[in-house]
């Protein structure tokens, strides 16, 4: 177990594993996500109340789901950075933050466009929407702080602390639809109950969520490899990789 943990901390080991995983993550992710989206757009029945505008759900929910999951993963990595000083954990935080920011923006954007025909307004300062906006600013803060400090170790620790402080926002997003009165509908998926939708709606949604998870995994591997190359540029194994005939 500890041996595995230490191996996981080795950038070279991670680089090799990521190279082998990436094609699988990419193509299974594309297949699941596209299957979910095409099913949802063209084949799922219209909603009896919202008509066809609800089809935005097949990208809105996956984006919002991932936006929060990525932040939780970053918080776990931040803990590892602070406790074990593992470099790879900081590589993950730095590589995932821009992806999380884009996903949060997409969740907000698709939510606003969905809100117009459904609620009659693009935006309202209610709990769910405001806490998602705060999540976007937390991502921006982590990115800005990370690039403002040039020393690798100080930067890793500062960003880790910021990410951990911001994690308090995640339960607020999650429970905002239950604690406060809001226009936002309650969660589509709950672990304890059957989905309140017919299978023709929730199966494609689940496919899209899983597909986007896999695609995030692929993109995170790609970005982490880049970050590792930058940081380990002077080591022997990177030089072997970069030299003509190497397969980076």
């Amino acid at each position: 177990m500890w041996q595995f943990f230490h191996k996981l901390g080795s950038p070279k080991w991670f680089y090799d594993i990521a190279s082998r995983l990436m094609p699988w993550l990419l193509w299974s992710g594309v297949a699941l996500f596209m299957a979910g989206v095409i099913w949802g757009l063209a084949f799922a029945p219209p909603d009896y109340l919202q008509g066809n505008s609800y089809r935005i759900i097949f990208i809105h929910v996956p984006s919002a789901f991932l936006a929060q999951s990525v932040y939780i993963m970053m918080a776990v990595a931040a803990t590892v950075t602070l406790v074990w000083r593992m470099k790879l954990a900081d590589v993950f935080v730095k590589s995932a933050a821009p992806v999380g920011a884009v996903l949060t923006f997409l969740a907000l954007f698709t939510g606003a466009v969905w809100g117009k025909p459904t609620w009659g307004t693009w935006w309202i300062w209610d709990a769910r929407l405001t806490s998602m906006l705060i999540l976007l600013f937390l991502y921006f803060g982590a990115i800005a702080l990370g690039s403002a400090i040039s020393d690798e170790k100080s930067s890793a620790r500062a960003v880790a602390v910021l990410v951990l402080v911001g994690v308090v926002n995640i339960p607020i997003i999650k429970y905002s639809v239950e604690w406060w009165n809001t226009l936002h509908q309650p969660a589509t998926f709950k672990l304890t109950e059957k989905p309140s939708m017919p299978a023709d709606m929730w199966v494609p949604l689940l496919l899209a969520v899983l597909g986007l998870y896999l695609l995030f995994g692929w993109l995170a591997c790609l970005r982490m490899q880049t970050e590792i190359l930058v940081r380990e540029g002077r080591t022997r194994w990177v030089r072997e990789l970069v030299k003509p005939g190497g397969n980076p």
């Binding site: 029945p45 505008s53 884009v102 954007f109 969905w114 993109l219 880049t226 030089r239 970069v242 030299k243």
Partner: protein
């Protein structure tokens, strides 16, 4: 199929502009993010390759001349 025709599919029962705006922005922004990440990686690899090629040719010059043009050997000297 939930729609009778392709036109009905595009119109989305009057909600077409909202639905398609979301999907276009989603895919456009995702592709920009992916392309940016791939370019970053290519750029980093190129920079490392150039740096390494520079280091290699510098090394080869020293070997082919038999002697480096400048000698950085430390000479211990007594200054007192």
């Amino acid at each position: 199929m939930a729609f009778d025709s392709f036109d009905a599919f595009l119109a989305m029962g009057g909600h077409g502009p909202y639905v398609w705006a979301c999907y276009i922005v989603f895919f456009a922004l995702s592709l920009v993010l992916i392309q940016w990440s791939r370019m970053q990686r290519r750029f980093v690899l190129q920079r490392l390759a150039v740096r390494q090629a520079g280091a290699n040719t510098a090394g080869r010059n020293i070997e082919s001349n038999g002697k480096a043009s400048a000698d950085f050997a430390r000479v211990d000297s007594l200054n007192d």
